[in-house]
Symmetry: D5
Subunit: 129 residues, 10 copies
């Protein structure tokens, strides 16, 4: 695996494919460029997913996030684009991406998008007291 920014997402086989379980990943070091002004934008990206047969490799995910460093990206569009891209790489049962952008002009913006495999049904969440 290279250590350069890359749109390729490496994967590995889910080690417990018969069980619905949750993987949560938080990346506080996302930066891209504002397409209007060309100036840097900063965000924290969070993923949570239920893997099907594949998991996303963490180092590759880091290089993928790095690949936006010199790209212009609108908040709403880039969040959906990331979701589309990662979903097409690992076809999870469920994936949610949350992009929390740093304040600009006194305004805080967060965009959350999710994908569900239509044939997968989320198990009932057990909330113990």
């Amino acid at each position: 695996m290279t250590t350069k920014p890359s749109k390729d997402l490496e994967t590995f086989p889910n080690p417990q494919p018969g069980r619905d379980y949750t993987i949560r990943i938080t990346i506080p070091e996302f930066t891209c460029l504002c397409p209007k002004t060309g100036q840097p934008d900063f965000a924290t990206i969070s993923l949570e997913y239920v893997p099907a047969s594949l998991c996303v490799e963490l180092k590759a995910l880091k290089l993928y996030m790095w690949s936006f460093r010199d790209e212009g990206a609108f908040h709403e569009a880039v969040t959906n684009e990331m979701l589309n891209h990662i979903v097409s790489a690992i076809h999870p049962n469920f994936m949610r991406i949350r992009a929390e952008f740093n304040v600009r002009g006194g305004i805080y913006t967060t965009v959350i998008a999710e994908h569900k495999n239509p044939v997968w049904e989320a198990p009932d969440l057990i909330n113990l007291p």
Copy 2:
């Protein structure tokens, strides 16, 4: 776009119109005048919405918030008025506004109002463990 207070709300096309996703915006810098005393009031305004075909432009939203700076505004009325105004501009599937006013006379007040497009149904929320 001007940089003066304005009741006009600029919009842009939703970049992922086929997906229900969430946009959250927090504006801690809202100020208006108390209609009883004429003195300044301060509040934090939070929006969350699921766009239909349009999104609200952030800089225009900031100028819209600015437009209340010299207006008298009752807590309950202004929250509903904002909701009515923004909904009429972008016709979202769902929008909720939360106005958290600063303490006055030892009393903290928050008003929350929401609009749902009657033909839109919120997807079941998936809560992973």
Copy 3:
């Protein structure tokens, strides 16, 4: 309106009567007397309600809270009494009162009571991801 403690609760017409919305009020400055020892008790009182045709006026609510300053009041009883009193003044669709008393003898006590208009049904809560 006087600025003396008062059991009278002033009201005003709900400015958006066709919409179920939430008003939350927190009053950290409630004090009454312990009916057993005669010593001062302190509490934070929180209300949340969905107005019907009337809202409760904030300054009158403050004077109402003040009216307990020289009264003896058991925790469980005074919380229910406040709820009964305010409900009879504004007939809300829903009201919940939470009274969080300061620690006494190493024990923290909170009492929460609520009233629902039996012909009103709470709208389904939309929880966006």
Copy 4:
């Protein structure tokens, strides 16, 4: 009422018997002895309940907690024992006890047990936005 440790739980009549409401009590000053080593254990005990015809008197509850000071008590057993004891004193519609023990050997342990009167049904929880 004595001010000695006591297994007796004084009660008083519920002042609003026709309404389901919540009483929450937190006691951060519970201590007993570890039955294996004889050394002191410390915990925070929290109760929440919906009274039926009786409420538990706070000072008596404090003396009851005091009564464990010189007793050996396993985490799982003592939490259930307390619940059984208090339920038999006031027959609440619902009661939950949470015992959060201090760290031992780098391990934090909490035990939560609850009792529901089988003929009582919890009202639907109204969550306002």
Copy 5:
């Protein structure tokens, strides 16, 4: 019981077998080796379970966690392995394990897996207001 790392999990009988109640355990001192680099990894492990006829002994659980100290362990695999192991020792009605790994390369990862006895049904969670 020895005080050496051990894969054996001691158990004891559930002291209140007729009641569904919750035991929560947090172990902030888990360390293993990264199977790729051989370097130490650190995590906080949390368990929550509803016991059937057996509970897991806390000191044995600590020695079990210790047994990973010199083993290589992938995040996703070790979380599922622990769950499988502890479930096979105490056959709980329900168990959830959460492994929160320390940040590596600017990325925070958490894995959550759970097991439910298929013939056990979680009681409705009572949420008091």
Copy 6:
């Protein structure tokens, strides 16, 4: 000792008169009346002192704080008055009072006053790294 509000401050002999040591007391339950509006004010009162031959009794201090409940009191004046009063009762080597008033009109006010016995010299404070 009575349990009524009282300007009398009970004292007891300092149990370690040959050593300069610190006693800190915080009373979050102070309330008086605003002398301009007659409405209740609330504050947290903190004392720190180095006793000479006398210490102030805690329950008497509580009754002393209670004695302001129905008095009008300006922020700056009442803080100095309390200091003068307690100093004249126990003649400490040093005493500092901090009165942190609740917000009014969006303004937070704190007044801090202190007294030093002119023949007493504070020992050098040892700050360990």
Copy 7:
């Protein structure tokens, strides 16, 4: 006293003129206009001072802060201007002003200025352990 924005600062006599004591005031509701862009700026203003013969009246201070609402003000200049203005009104022994501006362009700015009466000497600060 009027309730309009005003550059006049009302004062009152120091109630304890023979003692050096501290008055701290925090005003989280300051807003002015950016002199470059005309857009609103927001800041929290904190004062601490040792009065000489005069104290500043709190309501007048609030109206003074209000008077900047429609004025353009550079961060560094306005902080010094406020200090100059308030010092000339009450001639304190010491005054410090801290202006903490809200984030702009990802940059947080705070300006702190202070005035000392040259013939006044600060008493040694007693730090008890």
Copy 8:
């Protein structure tokens, strides 16, 4: 070493006797009895010291703290008594004890006492920026 409450304080030789360094110990699990009412009191005890030739053994310190469990103890007296006792066991260059008692009657009390070997001088504290 026994595992029973004990007034004996075991010691061990300072492993780096030629260097002034700091040992800080916090014990949040102190409990004794109120000598007035006989009811349990709770406190957090903190020590910081610069050892001379001896250090205090941690397990013995724990048993020492345990020895107060059934003793009546006034706040001011017990803090000084502990200091006297531990100082006589290890003769440190410097020791400070802080006893932070749980709230009683709405009043929080902390007592801090310290001992310095008169022939020892604290090194200047280096505060790096």
Copy 9:
């Protein structure tokens, strides 16, 4: 002024040149490249300074921070380089820079460097109680 990354630092005249006062600036959005691995590094940069005749313009400072986005930079060297650069632009009486880098390999690193004009003397800091 351009809105491109730039090593030029614009300045403006100090509006209160006769007074020593403090300007604090925090920039949480600094990113550069690791000179060993070429991968992005992230840091929060804080400045505090006492201006002489010049202040640094905030927008230019932001563009200056942006200019490191594509440069390799060792932690210790870049902090000193920034200090040297800004000092040579505004010749402040005093300046301190703090660079707090994000965690790498489980290690958190912060570098702090400062410059003082040798003929300037810091005024005694007045600490009010």
Copy 10:
């Protein structure tokens, strides 16, 4: 450089040798064995130092911390040993080590040791208001 635990500490030349500046490093992932029980201990190690001609390389410092993983280590001794070892590698003007051990038996312990080059004098710390 290997990636195995190692007692060797790599160094690099101080990039700004003519200036006293601060380097702070925090390593929350230290683990060793208790020499009494053989069980794992955990601690957070913090260093702060003023370099002379050499700085300590971060990755080597990490491997050095790793080298204690299978060693028995008393709290007081290991802190002093680390200080001695790192000082002998880079001969800093000043170094302080703080070892904050995880709670054992309800007792929290921290050890802080420091070294100063006797011919180096710490510059006066400038504290801006």
